[in-house]
Symmetry: C2
Subunit: 152 residues, 2 copies
DNA sequence: ACCAACTAGTTCAACTTTCAACTACTTATT
DNA sequence: AATAAGTAGTTGAAAGTTGAACTAGTTGGT
């Protein structure tokens, strides 16, 4: 495993640019939501995922989708629940299971927060590339996801 | 600001792929270092940055380079110092200033950890794109950094 | 030389994350 | 039908992060 192929100067530049960009991007989007709506980007992502599912999502699915360890998701959903944005509904067919479901209040928050968030993604991310670059990025990020998930 | 230009399905796919990839990538690289060397990716980055500077770096420069709020960096350097990887040296020309400097023990750790880390970056990141894609990614990430830093 | 405004870095307390231990339920095996 | 192994989710305590308040030193204007 330790064949230690080093990175070329160009490869290093790519990695460092990516690393810096990803931190700045995350900070910016998190700040936008935090200051305007008092929720974190992670919490927003949970709400956004739930918004497409009428009956909510299982905690385990949410954890998988958002790439969070389950205990983090538990705490996150608990916070959202305490603020009234989400409800827990126990699964009728599997008594171990719990669904997180968006409440009316959660839907209302999302309706306000989504345009701000989308505008942030547009400005800070999508607008920074042309169409060919966007397609290339999609392919590369897909490869990275696949490779990480199959641990090849 | 709320012109609310929505994202197209393709743009959404790009964003979601990026988001997932960045989380998986971070988790993987962090885990590698955590399990094998008991340091986090953030701590590694600090050590790596210090390794290129014989006289160390000012806390404020380190915070800027690693995109951390200053209090996080303070805690991070304190942890590294407690483990003996880093020393604090007060700046002679500006008595407010503090340099963080790599110790011999820190250099030794880095010598062991770097190949593992680089191998992770290679496998999970660099190997997932060809040369044209890499150049495109560098450009795009550069744009994102610039845009975020100028808050245009 | 003085004082206000600024900068560097740390500290503190509240909050978030982590991982292992735990409860409760389900599935497979015999 | 009993039991072992596996899965879903929560809990709890330790560790890490945050931003505001703080200390100490520097700079610029008068």
């Amino acid at each position: 495993m330790n064949t230690s192929r080093w990175l070329s100067e160009n490869e290093q530049l790519t990695w460092l640019s990516y690393l810096r960009a990803s931190k700045l991007l995350n900070d910016r989007l998190d700040n936008d939501l935090q200051t305007q709506f008092h929720i974190s980007l992670d919490e927003y992502e949970v709400l956004a995922m739930l918004s497409t599912e009428t009956h909510g999502l299982r905690m385990s699915s949410l954890a998988e989708i958002t790439v969070s360890p389950k205990s983090r998701l538990t705490h996150c959903v608990t916070r959202l629940q305490q603020q009234g944005y989400v409800e827990r509904v126990s699964c009728p067919t599997d008594k171990r299971g719990t669904f997180a479901v968006l409440t009316a209040k959660g839907t209302a928050l999302l309706k306000k927060a989504a345009p701000v968030h989308v505008d942030g993604v547009r400005t800070a991310f999508t607008d920074q590339m042309n169409d060919a670059q966007r397609r290339s990025l999609t392919k590369v990020m897909g490869n990275i996801v696949q490779s990480a998930e199959t641990r090849q």
